[in-house]
């Protein structure tokens, strides 16, 4: 496959991924907001957030706005000195 063909295939896959979203997205934005603080703390502490909050990752993959809010809260916590 040539580079341009690969590029086109990637573009189509991106379009497909964006349109169809992840499978298993069962959370809505409200539930995502409710779980966000706990999910981010577990994520920052590398404590397997996806086991504790099932469905969250799929929602973040499918919802750009919640994904941005997740990134922001994570960045804010990481910008602070760790508590004793």
């Amino acid at each position: 496959m040539s580079d341009s063909e690969q590029g086109e295939t990637r573009e189509r896959e991106t379009v497909l991924t964006r349109l169809l979203g992840p499978s298993g997205d069962v959370l809505g934005c409200e539930e995502c907001f409710i779980e966000l603080d706990r999910y981010v703390e577990l994520d920052v502490a590398s404590l397997d957030p996806d086991r504790h909050v099932p469905g969250m990752r799929a929602h973040l993959e499918g919802c750009p706005a919640c994904a941005e809010d997740f990134q922001s809260l994570k960045a804010l916590l990481e910008s602070e000195p760790r508590r004793p």
């Binding site: 295939t9 497909l16 349109l19 504790h52 750009p64």
Partner: protein, 222 residues
């Protein structure tokens, strides 16, 4: 949805319990004790709002310094009201400060996104959609891909309602933030996400019925 929290002892997220209890106790008090807690809380929310707005500065080059500061203060004030109304929902599963931050970040991100789209026309027409149909007939595309894209095109027209198609295309292909679209369509982010979710589910079911394996394709893409 409530899942059991299993934060092990000694975890960096856990020594917050006393802090959180103290916050709740002070906010539940009356008089100067509560007033002092509110002032501290507002400062915390303002810090988070400024943090968020700083992250988004590049997306709004035309705003002046005062505008940014106004936006941060509006966000902190709205976040404080929202938080106090939801104080009873705090379950202590994260630090109180983390729980508080998310209110300020949400207010600031929504306000900044809306400011960024102020006066701009929302691309809700099916422009991106037409390009999608074009790419599927580009020379060199694999037959399977072409068939899948053509099926998708047909199902988007045949299976989705006009509203579902517009919301799906605006948010996923034209990068319109969901809360900006919600404001323009006079609905909520949650309701729009449901529209998006229903549209995606219908497409997935329709494509599966035609024999396409969607998640195989999706895995390769990520």
């Amino acid at each position: 949805m409530t899942m059991p929290t299993e934060i092990p002892a000694g975890d960096p997220a856990s020594p917050s319990a006393d802090d959180s209890r103290l916050w709740l106790e002070r906010l539940g008090a009356s008089g100067p004790r509560r007033d002092a807690a509110i002032v501290e809380l507002h400062a915390l929310l303002l810090k988070a709002a400024r943090f968020e707005i700083d992250r988004r500065r590049a997306s709004l080059p035309h705003l002046r310094g005062d505008d940014w500061e106004d936006l941060a203060h509006e966000s902190a004030a709205d976040a404080l009201s929202a938080l106090l109304a939801k104080l009873g929902d705090f379950r202590g599963e994260a630090r109180f400060t983390t729980w508080a931050y998310k209110f300020a970040l949400l207010e600031a991100s929504v306000k900044t996104r809306r400011r960024g789209w102020q006066g701009r026309e929302i691309p809700i027409a099916d422009d991106a959609w037409a390009r999608l149909a074009d790419t599927s007939v580009t020379a060199g595309a694999h037959v399977e891909d072409t068939e899948l894209m053509e099926a998708l095109r047909q199902e988007m027209t045949g299976t989705l309602t006009k509203r579902q198609r517009e919301v799906l295309v605006a948010v996923t292909l034209n990068d319109v933030p969901i809360d900006v679209l919600a404001e323009r369509l006079e609905t909520t982010r949650g309701a729009l996400y449901k529209t998006l979710h229903d549209a995606r589910r219908k497409l997935r079911i329709a494509l599966a019925e035609r024999g396409f394996r969607i998640d195989g394709t999706r895995e390769e893409a990520s």
